[in-house]
């Protein structure tokens, strides 16, 4: 069942990204992502395109790995190891959310928000607000998924510490939470490509 839920969620994200793509194809100019996303915390005005978002990608992939390791420990009925890996996964999720919060704050400080786009097109012409609208909507929707994923993981961690899964004899719930968590990572792979690379 989880798979079909994830598929419907994938269609939601897919529809968002498609509308972003077709609007972008239908617009004459578009801001250069290397100019817009170039800041790094604590580095002032340094020109570091892509570095921060790569760090975010790394954090999310890393937390995906710890999640698989939690599932693997669940297969070995190792309650202690599941707790350890779940805690690391939750830390990764929170780290990602903090990075995103910083990035949003930074962009908002530069004057970008829904309906406001201070960035110019790559060729110096005025850009549409669709750029910021789509960016904030889609990364916001994804960030909300990460947030709910962290909540689900915390619930699973609490249930695991209480020994619910050990009593039940299997860790299927951890596996389902893991599926959701990997899906969030999967969506980020596409968001990363569509907004920061292309």
């Amino acid at each position: 069942m989880m798979w079909y839920f994830l598929m419907s969620d994938a269609f939601t994200f897919g529809a968002f990204l498609i509308s972003y793509g077709s609007i972008r194809f239908a617009t004459n100019g578009w801001p250069d992502p290397n100019e817009v996303f170039r800041a790094f915390p604590g580095m002032g005005d340094a020109h570091m395109p892509l570095v921060f978002v790569s760090l975010m990608t790394f954090i999310l992939i890393m937390s995906s790995v710890t999640m698989v390791l939690a599932v693997a420990s669940g297969h070995q009925n190792n309650q202690k190891a599941v707790t350890k890996w779940m805690i690391l996964t939750i830390i990764g999720g929170i780290a990602f959310l903090s990075c995103q919060a910083w990035e949003w704050t930074h962009l908002h400080g530069e004057g970008a928000w829904w309906g406001r786009n201070p960035f110019l097109n790559a060729d110096g012409t005025k850009a549409t607000t669709n750029f910021t609208n789509f960016f904030f909507t889609i990364t916001g929707f994804h960030g909300f998924h990460v947030f709910s994923g962290v909540l689900i993981n915390i619930i699973m961690l609490i249930k695991n510490i209480r020994g619910d899964f050990a009593k039940r004899g299997h860790y299927l719930m951890i596996e389902k939470a893991g599926l959701y968590w990997h899906f969030v990572d999967l969506v980020w792979v596409f968001v990363f490509t569509c907004f920061y690379l292309l």
Partner: protein
């Protein structure tokens, strides 16, 4: 099949879930991301791979990453074939959907540029020098 008695009450997955392929997948994902980064920087400084080719490369690399996440992390590769097909077929149809919509967007742009001269000229005039006018007019957080 033979371990059904051994792990009575366990579900249908194979119990052996070794951590080796997980780390292998992690390295693959990390290396692909690094390749994307390197390509982006090479393009930034030398403009060598033309943007169109670069975008194609990005898409291929992204789909590779997606494949590894779904197949290994989400374990779909090890599920029964019917489940794989019910997931994979709609996803494939979705690819067609994407192509159709992007094509539509591109054609809308061409038509508009051909028949709406005003729009074309407007999108070619450089923007005026940025004046700090959004600060008094809009409070941060207010829409528009």
């Amino acid at each position: 099949m033979e371990n059904i008695q051994a792990t009575a009450g366990s579900h249908h997955h194979e119990p052996e879930f070794s951590t080796k392929p997980i780390w292998r997948t992690f390295w693959i994902l990390l290396i692909i991301t690094l390749i994307e980064l390197v390509l982006a920087f090479v393009h930034l400084y030398t403009h060598f791979p033309p943007k169109l080719m670069l975008n194609g490369l990005y898409l291929i690399l992204t789909c590779t990453k997606a494949f590894y996440i779904i197949a290994e992390f989400m374990h779909l590769r090890h599920e029964i074939k019917n489940l794989i097909m019910t997931i994979a077929l709609p996803a494939l149809i979705f690819v067609w959907f994407i192509i159709a919509f992007l094509w539509d967007g591109g054609s809308f742009k061409d038509l508009r540029n051909t028949y709406d001269r005003h729009h074309l000229e407007q999108s070619k005039t450089p923007a005026p020098k940025p004046v700090e006018e959004h600060e008094p007019a809009n409070k941060p957080g207010s829409p528009e």
